[in-house]
Symmetry: C2
Subunit: 354 residues, 2 copies
């Protein structure tokens, strides 16, 4: 585990640049809020088109759960891990957590009059996107720590929940809990219905995701593994034990950190792993290197019409947010991992989208 203070830096990073040029033209599509996908009944994956990706999931579940199967996996070893941003919900044009941090700066500004003249806060408070585009890593760290620390552990979750209830995606004009991919919700449920324990293993903040994961994914806090800040045990004025959020990164749950933290938290290798970027590479490798059957899947964002198109794998537009490099695509092909084409494999992306 790298404990260098890079978590949110990585997150915020170049998003700043994206944000600086980000068009936020709302284009909500046909909203039929939260409708259950149409042709359910027998098909556990109704939002998936028939094809090799859907087939890989069904084959894997059948092979690992049928009692007489040579690939049978014992119930206690049925672990499935999902990256979040870009895998289970939208990450373009910038990660939700970055928007949260910027909105926090705006919200906290009245209590910080000094921010009006103090960079990097000044840039956000005054909406100076040109200045934001020049943020250094250090600036970004300062913003992350100022907005994510200094409160008790228990006070942080409600801040996230409030934001989730009101913030809207800049392109789709929907609250973030509606920006989850319906096909991935179906995979999670299908796996759980077959005895798999589903985990989110995210480069994003562990406590950020824990604040809404039960509502959005049906996954409890103890099954959310993410980048994590240190906490300090202290006593409040009543002498009660509290945990204060410290401006120090404890776990950087990205790349190799995902494999390392899966071991730290679960102590077992997953049998199924889902990602969409370089940051999930080691998690998929680690999953495949375990004994017995495994399923490795990568989401390729190739649907500019219904979501976003970015790679640069397969000639898709390059991006610094959720990069899917050609080398990852090639590794997937060489190792038998399944690349999910959002355009071809997903009948429906969001529950409210026709």
């Amino acid at each position: 585990m790298k404990t260098s203070s890079k978590l949110l830096s990585t997150l915020f990073l170049s998003l700043i640049f994206v944000l600086a040029g980000c068009s936020s033209s709302p284009n909500p599509g046909t909203s039929t809020a939260n409708q259950p996908a149409a042709t359910a009944a027998a098909d556990p994956l109704p939002s998936w088109n028939d094809g090799s990706a859907k087939q890989a999931i069904v084959d894997f579940v059948k092979a690992t759960t049928a009692k007489n199967s040579p690939k049978f996996v014992a119930a206690e070893d049925r672990i499935a891990t999902f990256d979040q941003d870009g895998t289970t919900w939208v990450e373009q044009p910038i990660y939700s957590q970055v928007l949260f941090a910027f909105d926090r700066v705006a919200e906290m500004a009245p209590q910080h009059p000094e921010w009006k003249t103090k960079m990097p806060f000044k840039a956000i408070v005054t909406g100076d996107r040109e200045a934001m585009a020049k943020f250094t890593l250090k600036d970004i760290e300062v913003i992350a720590m100022a907005t994510h620390t200094g409160m008790t552990a228990e006070a942080f979750g409600p801040l996230v929940q409030d934001w989730m209830a009101k913030a809207k995606h800049p392109k789709f004009d929907k609250p973030y809990p509606q920006m989850v991919y319906q096909p991935m919700l179906e995979v999670m449920k299908y796996l759980r219905d077959n005895g798999y324990k589903t985990y989110i293993v995210t480069g994003g903040g562990q406590d950020f995701v824990r604040a809404y994961a039960q509502q959005v994914y049906g996954i409890p806090p103890e099954q959310i593994i993410g980048s994590a800040l240190d906490t300090q045990y202290e006593y409040n004025k009543d002498g009660q034990g509290i945990l204060m959020r410290d401006p120090k990164l404890l776990l950087n749950n990205n790349g190799a950190g995902k494999a390392e933290d899966i071991y730290l938290f679960i102590g077992k290798r997953p049998h199924a792993a889902f990602g969409n970027t370089d940051g999930a590479r080691q998690m998929l490798e680690y999953t495949q290197a375990g004994s017995g059957a495994s399923l490795e899947m990568l989401v390729l964002h190739d649907d500019a019409t219904r979501e976003f198109a970015y790679g640069p794998a397969q000639g898709l537009p390059d991006t610094k947010v959720g990069t899917f490099p050609q080398s990852l695509y090639d590794e997937a092909k060489a190792k038998g991992w399944t690349v999910i084409s959002m355009k071809n494999d997903w009948k429906q992306i969001f529950a409210w989208q026709k």
Copy 2:
């Protein structure tokens, strides 16, 4: 979380001194191996004598699980945490993990001819207890890291399991899996039967305890939180992803670390917590400071005949292994925590003991 390299140091610490003077006269008692406690049926805690400790457990479970109870705790919040050494199994005359490390040195010695002349290994290899009594913290760290690191994550568990199968307790001459406290197994099962999720939260090594916890406690690896070493993601000669155990402490799960790591791993406060030393103090405080009903219990080792007697609380003999200071006893009394007297509250300590 303190990430100073003190975990095993703390463990090994003064045990060396204890070991140096440790009498290992076997005194097995009447062994009737693993017999289920006699008067089960209706009573979920048959190894407990009637009294305030047993009553506190039963009252807590009833109050938090009866649907119409004002103290009802939702199923997803039923978390119970147990320290291990001295709480769920024997820790005197020295922690099992220390014996494991010393036995590992002996076992590894043929591959390390230099240890014959190199301290601190020489002291162990030659059985020089006088020299061992002079070990510095640095020596102890060197032993811990030499015996617990340098292998893959997956290779470590079997080493522990092998040791557990053959090593015997110096006083009772039983393998360690039989040195578990029958009354605590009953509490764990009783809690689980009532919807509680039981966790071990130990100052000992997380991977050490995970290696046998399913067998000994019926608790899966992901519910074992302990002091943890760093791992490094690497590739083996076949290009497969592996995790190597690194000689670097990541989590020191003792004292404040227990509360911090409970938050890190579970994201919720426990409603019940069990310990027996200063190292569990903050876990109990943190539990009690949560909202709703809670149960805090401390095991007092006051039974020299059937187990060991040590404190120094309540005038019991002082010890550096599993110290229960008077200040902890006083805090327990002031805050309404229950102190379990092994002598008076436990009808039976070990399953094989009459």
